[in-house]
Symmetry: C2
Subunit: 213 residues, 2 copies
């Protein structure tokens, strides 16, 4: 039997409170305008105390970014764990990743800006998130190989191919450019998923509903 370490739990609670306040400030005034002093003031702490929990301002930014992308990872994982055919799950999962990205741009601009910075600065949490998504995709491709839906030689390479081919529909900078240009994005997303399905050797008749031309 193990007991939770009370000191570790206190540390975790303090970190969580700091991140909650940081996230609220980021949403209100933007991450680049939020200072560690702002966060400390709201928590009735000294700045030095904040630095006991986060080594740097960048660490706070990166951790808030981790919270934002965790939401996407949870949606993606939930789709991957359903009983649907692998090809349908892949189509749904890519559509969901795209939707989260455009939704953030339109409805949650400050967090969109945070993700732009995260991708640009290659922050630890965004890299970890990308690896998580890639791992889910690799497992999904292997699942599709077992069920005979996909026909590829190298599942890992195919998973990387999928995510790269779909990057224009979820990378924050590219999504912003696409939305600015007022492209008919939904049709483009479907077409790109069809392209990806062809690369996976999915026959036309096996394409999920809504994706077939």
């Amino acid at each position: 039997m193990t007991f939770a370490d009370p000191i570790a739990t206190d540390l975790e609670q303090s970190r969580t409170r700091i991140l909650e306040v940081a996230e609220r400030h980021f949403r209100r005034i933007g991450y680049h305008k939020t200072s560690v002093a702002d966060i400390a003031a709201e928590l009735g702490m000294s700045r030095a105390n904040i630095y006991r929990f986060f080594p740097s301002r960048t660490a706070i930014n990166s951790s808030v970014c981790g919270l934002v992308v965790k939401e996407v990872a949870e949606i993606v994982l939930a789709i991957a764990q359903t009983d649907a055919p692998a090809s349908k799950k892949l189509a749904d999962l890519l559509t969901a990743i795209h939707r989260q990205s455009t939704r953030r741009l339109v409805e949650d601009r400050p967090m969109h800006q945070l993700l732009v910075a995260a991708m640009d600065g290659s922050w630890a949490t965004i890299n970890a998130h990308n690896e998580d998504i890639l791992a889910i995709l690799k497992a999904l491709v292997r699942e599709g190989l077992r069920t005979g839906e996909f026909k590829v030689q190298d599942a890992d390479e195919a998973a990387r191919g999928i995510i790269t081919a779909f990057l224009p529909f979820f990378h924050p900078v590219l999504v912003e450019q696409r939305v600015q240009e007022g492209e008919a994005i939904a049709a483009c997303v479907h077409a790109q998923i069809r392209f990806i399905m062809t690369a996976l050797g999915t026959s036309d008749r096996a394409l999920p509903e809504g994706i077939s031309a």
Copy 2:
């Protein structure tokens, strides 16, 4: 028999001279630090005179950008016009587009920055360039369909799929992020070209040399 319109020719020469000076300034101090006054001074012109040839500062930026991407379009067209098999031309053409993009980032940073702005602002010359490249790709996919190298239902959709799937390897912002992360880009480029070839129904044995796994 037609004669060149001397007034039109004069106008064209003046435009060319203005763009040459602008390009030189952009390379030396960056496009955002170059003022219309700088360009006018070097040409011994008034600013008002510059505006006779270009309606705005943005029009000058966009035209210089047009010169930069023209170079890429010429390389791509030259590859598309050789007698090689369509699959080899496609692989060579994508590799060349990627190479130009990384070369610019490393050796010609001011023009890289100009292209970042062009993509972000959706400037007329970059949009026209993207349409040109897409047209070349569409023709190449149709060529591959005729020779039996490619098997796709819709050549135009396939061409758009190719360019979207390869965007991470030539979009200036994404190329910069990739280079920063120090990824083994050449291997990634080859893998992505293989993924694209699979989507086009190219059999493994037909993959161009250097691209096969």
